[in-house]
Symmetry: C2
Subunit: 208 residues, 2 copies
């Protein structure tokens, strides 16, 4: 079993490795990956060791091969279909942000407010939520990102699961039952701030 | 040393425990916390055991006491001062989202675009970035949340550090040097989606 934290760091390594490749570095040392990602060299080596032998002994890793291997582990492929539920400020910010990832394909956004529908945000059309069935049948998105308030979360999850969505990321942390066959993730911004507070607090404690 | 994952889960427990208290549950069992948070009972007990003895043997935890204890561990206090850098879609969404947390006090937002300044978003005023010095001196924010593109990240970090900000949360993952005396956190939405892809992929692999 590969630790969750390792898998999460793979995404970070991937970003750093792509930068390395863009800059012409065809071979990278773990110390260089570490520096770019702000992670210790020994942790980089440990993380990558879970996935077999990518390295050239004493000479580092072949950047392109390491990228392909990490992409294969994560399951990254061309045009990962994503839909955004909710076209408020957060939904709009998400469309612009995720549109920058070359292998993400933002298929469409959906909102229940008719006034927000029919417009296009960064090239992504906003549809009324009643059209979700029809559009998912045609486009088969893999992931839905929820930019909606927490009160209708369970209902939305069940409904997306019934439409064959396999992965759902929510910005509203709420006590819900994850539907069968769905992977559910939360991005809890308040919890991230609280984690910073804990670290500030601990630092104060140790420097007293 | 308490594991990072445990500290992160404390924020989740806190939210669930507040709901319990609102619903009049003055004593909670670990199994109830577990159910509310979607975390296993044994993990809840293990996490809470790091912080000493909160429980009433065989009868659960006193909800109010557990909340206070977790708040103390994290360093939550009334009116945690937060500033938002960037008043685009993401900045606006963050203001609305974080304004809902009763102990967060969103002091102000800042933008370099004069056209976005002078307005008020959900009761939070947007100032020109040139006023940051003056306003932080007066209000002493603890945390800055960065809703800005990655290209000016290092410069912004150094500048906020020089203004005494102790915690910074960024939505743009970038290879930067964390300033001394600053705790830096990243919310990487693309990485969260990739983690879902990995889990979908693994599930497919095991059900073949």
């Amino acid at each position: 079993m590969i630790p969750e934290a390792t898998i999460r760091r793979l995404s970070i390594y991937l970003r750093c490795l792509r930068h390395s490749l863009e800059e012409g570095e065809e071979i990278v040392l773990s110390s260089e990956i570490a520096k770019r990602c702000g992670i210790s060299s020994s942790l980089v080596r440990k993380d990558l060791s879970y996935f077999g032998e990518f390295g050239i002994k004493g000479r580092g890793y072949r950047t392109g091969e390491l990228i392909s291997a990490i992409e294969k582990i994560i399951g990254i492929h061309d045009k990962i279909g994503i839909i955004i539920i909710g076209a408020g400020n957060l939904g709009r910010a998400l469309i612009r942000h995720l549109n920058e990832i070359p292998y993400f394909h933002i298929i469409a956004a959906f909102d229940k407010n008719q006034e927000k529908c029919g417009i296009s945000i960064d090239g992504v059309e906003v549809f009324h939520i009643s059209q979700l069935s029809e559009i998912t049948k045609k486009t088969r998105p893999e992931v839905a990102v929820l930019a909606i308030p927490p009160d209708s979360l369970q209902e939305t999850l069940d409904w997306l699961a019934a439409h064959g969505i396999k992965g759902i990321l929510s910005f509203a942390l709420s006590s819900v039952k994850t539907p069968k066959n769905v992977e559910l993730g939360f991005v809890e911004i308040a919890a991230e701030i609280e984690y910073l507070l804990y670290k500030i607090n601990r630092r104060r404690g140790t420097t007293k």
